[in-house]
Amino acid sequence: MDAPGGPAVAGRPIRARVASLGLAGVVICLAAFTIVAAYTTRAQVDRAQLLQALRDTYQSVTSAVGEEENAELAFIVDPSNDHSIALSAANGVTIAKINELTAHGGSDAQLARDMLALHGRLLVSAAREAAAIFDNNQAQARQIHDEQSVPMFFEMEVRLTTATDQGEAEASAAFASLRDTSQWMLTLAPVVFTIGFVLLLGLWRILEGYQQATSRTYKQIEQLSRLRAEFVSTVSHEFRTPLTGIQGFSEMMRDEELSVAQMREFAGDINKDALRLARLIADMLDLDRMESGRMTFNLEPLDLNRILADAAAPFRLSAADHPIELHLDESLPTIVGSSDRLTQVVTNLVSNAIKYSPSGGAVELRTERDEKMAVLTIRDHGMGIPTEMLETIFDRYSRIESKVTATIQGTGLGLPIVRQIVQLHAGKVWATSEPGQGSTFHVRLPLGVPAVGEHAAALPSAVA
């Protein structure tokens, strides 16, 4: 028996490996996409936040410079103590703010240095203004302020405005690229993840399929190996029993002083066991050929009634205790089948009917028509078949074991052969029984040409 799908197994490991690698690849790609997207977004957000912070610093420096200019003007107009203190404070704030720029480094550090230089010069001009005010020369102080301080304030403001505008542009660009990134992520992510999940699901299903196929194959191998072990054990048992007789009786004939009558008796025993072995081998080969579809049948139109009558005739002589009653439907049309094999079916069933009715009793053989089927029934009045065994009696070596059947010889292959032959004729066979009252075997065979069914392939139409 071949394991179903056996040859396909060879291609599996490679394809399964490809599917596993594919699965791993898809997972890695999805993870890489997620990491790149998250990293890009993070970097762009950081940059935008930095630029935002710079812009705030520029603005605070600008406003500090403006405050200082106002404080200086207020001090010139009214050189009170309060205005002097306010001017000093404004000075300090401006320097502190410029120093904050230094912390940003790069071009901002350069800007801060320039600003501090300008502010230093501004402080010098502010000192001159203060000196003029202390001399009560208001007009001169105003002139110094207008001609020296104001242009310096202006230059500082221009520098700051330029830097602010530049920062503003950079921040806008950063936000624009962040928006672009979000945009493509929103568009691409659903597509990428949908494709990814479809691939994952598909590959997963493929692997699951392989896994199931593998476990099915293992189960089949396990079952085959168990069947093989059972077969070897049964066959060994079936062969050893007749061999024991052959070996034992022949050794006695060789080693002991026997009369001619005893010699003949033992030779008969050996012959009986040899025939049993031969029948066992023939049955096993027949069954094997039928099960594997290698048996060829000579198909011809047949009169089932005639087969029944011919097959039953020898039993009338050999089993006188079992009268054979024929109830034949003479109007039964012909069937197409193998004469030899259908004779074997009837012989096996009648032989069983006689064997399993040790106390005698009639064996009834009946044919009748049921629409497009010919029905053959063989009924005995023997020990019957336990209900739980009605189906298993058709399995190999399954014999009913009891005190009565122990003395009945059989290969355990008769009924499996009957079922195979009937099935190869597109028919059906089954048993019904009332234990203690006898058994009935029913055979249904199609009239005319057997229907083209699952067994048709095993029924070569050519006459060999």
Partner: protein
């Protein structure tokens, strides 16, 4: 002279045993299954039991267990005859208190020797 009960379901082998043992002076009883064998053993209390393993009604192992469970006959040595000598079964012989085993096909001489070796003095 010893008394021996044989249990064997195959008619041909029962006949072989009978023919083999008739040259000895032992009293033998041949039974077709374990259940009838047990009845004969309890009645005769033989010196040796020889039994097939696979038999209908009561197999050899069940017979051995039944014999060991009955104090009046539990001392009788048991020789198993088997048609399937596989590793698992040999281990089972020990578990069922076998004194020995004989594998089919066996020769009449082997059967006689085995039986003689197991009959108590």
């Amino acid at each position: 002279m010893a008394r021996i009960v044989f249990c064997e379901d195959e008619e041909q082998i029962r006949k072989l045993i009978q023919v083999t043992m008739r040259s000895s002076d032992h009293v033998i009883e041949l039974m077709p299954n374990g259940r009838d064998g047990l009845a004969a053993i309890e009645r005769m209390v033989p010196d040796l039991i020889v039994t097939d393993v696979a038999m209908p009604e009561m197999g050899g192992f069940a017979l051995a267990d039944a014999v060991h469970a009955r104090p009046t006959i539990s001392h009788i040595p048991i020789l198993f005859i088997t048609a399937s000598v596989q590793r698992g079964e040999i281990a089972q012989f020990g578990a069922h208190g076998a004194a020995g085993y004989l594998a089919k096909p066996f020769s009449p001489r082997e059967l006689r020797e085995k039986v003689e070796s197991l009959i108590p003095e």
